[in-house]
């Protein structure tokens, strides 16, 4: 898989100081959904779109499984450069969300340890800040899409740019404990309906998501 590791680092471990995200050890379903997304245009990044164009579902599933199965050490976290208020705001959003803005806490879907939940929800720690910023920004502006209903688009659109910066700062500064893995199951139903996740949903009237 040299075509992947050229950018995503040996064994897909990507350093935390760059842009290209780590792919090693992410849930297989998440990686597969992203590969499909790049091939079919829901995600937009020229090099990925071109690379994946001639590949089949089966092969992409196999590639996703390969990287999901790799267990390699995480890089050290990035040093946070934001001010204390911003970091505190980031921490609050991650752990508690913002009820007034109808933003669920990150941990509600991405797991209490923020290591993601198998099979389709990714980790939020161990990632470069620039990458996190870019993804939330892309969802907010409509450049990145997930399967409908696109819950992350709802969340990102409810976040102010300074909230995105605060979140990314805080997340990128968290160390990944040795041996950390995606959680096996969600502790509670998802607060929003997410097309890319086959998981128990609350009934629709209870969903707090900002409907658009």
């Amino acid at each position: 898989m040299q075509a992947c590791t050229g950018c995503h680092g040996p064994q897909g471990r990507a350093a935390s100081d760059g842009y290209y995200p780590r792919i090693a050890g992410k849930p297989a379903g998440y990686l597969y959904n992203q590969l499909l997304g790049f091939r079919d245009g829901r995600r937009s990044y020229g090099l990925m779109n071109q690379l994946l164009a001639p590949l089949t579902d089966d092969y992409l599933r196999e590639i996703a499984g390969h990287f999901a199965g790799l267990d390699v050490a995480y890089p050290a976290p990035q040093v946070a450069t934001g001010n204390v208020d911003a970091l505190s705001r980031g921490e609050t959003l991650v752990l508690q969300g913002d009820a007034a803005l109808r933003i669920p806490a990150c941990v509600q879907c991405h797991g209490a340890a923020l290591m993601g939940v198998a099979p389709a929800i990714p980790a939020l720690i161990g990632m470069p800040r620039d990458y996190l910023n870019a993804q939330l920004g892309a969802w907010r502006t409509g450049n990145r899409h997930a399967f409908e209903p696109d819950c992350m688009a709802q969340v990102a659109k409810a976040l102010a740019p300074q909230d995105i910066a605060a979140l990314s700062q805080w997340l990128a500064a968290q160390p990944v404990p040795a041996g950390a893995k995606p959680a096996r199951a969600l502790p509670a139903p998802l607060p929003l309906r997410c097309g890319g996740v086959a998981a128990p949903m609350p009934d629709e009237s209870a969903a707090p998501g900002a409907k658009r």
Partner: protein, 440 residues
């Protein structure tokens, strides 16, 4: 005054005559379907629909008529041209946005005459200079198949063309100059297999839409011309199928040619060859789905193409040490050699020998040493996988170097590769790299 009047009258007369000629050339063999509103409903047979599905593969209709990630055949993909972008229309049988209201005669008129149902002239990004050669029987089968698809309500996107190319009159002039409706004519002196291959290559396959050069107005010389050409805007070079220095298959065995079309990879004379770029799309969407008999027919036709030698073209592989020019010779020990060692040698080998059946050799590789470095630039900058096909489901891929090497460095590496181990192609400049890699 009188003389001026005469000149004006003569000019006007000439203009009218020219206009009339253009008009006549556009309508002289048009077939206007009976429009009495009597819908002639003939229920297509299962066989006809299946045949149409197969022919749609042979023409890769879906390739252009499906947007990335969109509903099949519902249109929306843009075909970039030097004159602007042409958007492929919805071919599903939706009555309002697709071709649900079209009769088989309407469909034939589009394919054979390049006219829409309402008589509008169609842009030749829809390759009707090729499709005009499709038989009526095949056109009817295609129409029957398209009618069998689920209807998708998706309005067509308007073309985005610059003036004057957005004018029907401009299209009429273009057609008067470059388009004649014509059927494929079998050559009685050739085998049935060769003739079948010729039909597939020239008509539905529309191979020359890429594998031929285009003039300033975007016209190719003839569906028979397969001497190679740079694909406008995309800047991939579709190599000549008639030159041993590019992609001629005259020296390949028939099973090797069919393997390349069927699986995307082949090993003529033992060295791995893989399709890339736009040809990858052709294998994925079209040729991998064709029968062995049809692939063999295409292979027989392509193998028998009259060969040309192109003046001024450098031989791809001369004896080692015969570098094409001084700069290539200098590159052998320059920064290109170092970068090759650092980034390329791990897979392609210290001496460009590659690894059998895994990594292509670069020594003696025509795709690397072609006169035009366009494709080599694309490969280094963008990387790429061979297409995943039934015959090669887990292809190897090359990483993109766009984020690692700048234009100058790509030029250095390519100059080294094109001038080493017997390759004797001209050096590549940073300007060329910049030109071919295009917008990202």
């Amino acid at each position: 005054m009188r003389a001026a009047g005469r000149v004006a009258a003569a000019t006007l007369g000439l203009a009218v005559l020219l206009g009339a000629t253009v008009w006549w050339l556009n309508v002289r063999d048009d077939e206007r379907p009976a429009t009495a509103g009597v819908a002639q409903v003939t229920v297509p047979s299962v066989e006809q629909v299946a045949r149409g599905a197969y022919l749609a593969r042979a023409g890769n209709c879906m390739g252009c008529h499906t947007a990335t990630g969109g509903a099949p055949y519902a249109g929306g993909r843009g075909v970039p041209t030097p004159f602007g972008t042409v958007f492929a229309p919805n071919l599903t049988p939706d009555a309002n946005t697709g071709i649900g209201a079209w009769s088989s005669a309407d469909f034939w008129r589009a394919l054979h005459h390049g006219r829409s149902r309402d008589g509008r002239l169609l842009y030749p990004a829809f390759p009707y200079p090729n499709y005009t050669r499709v038989t009526r029987e095949d056109a009817d089968a295609l129409h029957a198949y398209l009618r069998s698809l689920p209807a998708v309500a998706q309005p067509n996107r308007a073309h985005e063309l610059r003036f004057p190319f957005d004018q029907q009159a401009a299209l009429a002039v273009w057609r008067a100059l470059y388009f004649r409706a014509a059927l494929h004519t079998p050559d009685a002196t050739r085998s049935a297999e060769w003739n079948r291959g010729a039909y597939l290559v020239e008509a539905l396959g529309h191979c020359n839409a890429c594998h031929a050069s285009r003039n300033a107005l975007g016209a190719t010389a003839s569906p028979l011309d397969l001497a190679g050409g740079l694909i406008p805007v995309q800047n991939w070079y579709a190599p000549s199928l008639t030159s041993a220095r590019e992609a001629s298959v005259a020296a390949w065995d028939l099973p090797v040619i069919t393997a390349l079309l069927k699986t995307g990879v082949a090993a003529p004379h033992g060295a791995l060859v893989a399709v890339a770029g736009p040809m990858s799309e052709v294998v994925t969407g079209s040729t991998q789905h064709l029968t062995d008999a049809d692939l063999r027919a295409m292979a027989a036709y392509l193998k028998a193409l009259p060969q040309t030698t192109q003046p001024g073209e450098h031989s791809a592989t001369t004896a080692p040490g015969q570098a094409a020019n001084a700069s290539a010779a200098a590159a052998l020990t320059g920064p290109g050699a170092k970068r090759y060692e650092q980034y390329c040698a791990q897979c392609h080998g210290e001496r460009g020998e590659g690894v059998a059946a895994i990594y292509p050799a670069l020594a003696g590789n025509r795709a690397v040493a072609m006169h035009t470095p366009a494709n080599a630039v694309h490969m280094v900058v963008e990387g790429g996988f061979a297409p995943a096909t039934a015959g090669n489901p887990r292809p190897f891929g090359m990483p993109p170097f766009a984020t690692v090497l700048n234009d100058e460095e790509v030029a250095q590496v390519l100059t080294f590769v094109r001038g080493s181990w017997g390759n004797a192609a001209p050096a590549v400049t940073a300007l060329e790299v910049s030109r071919y890699r295009g917008a990202r």
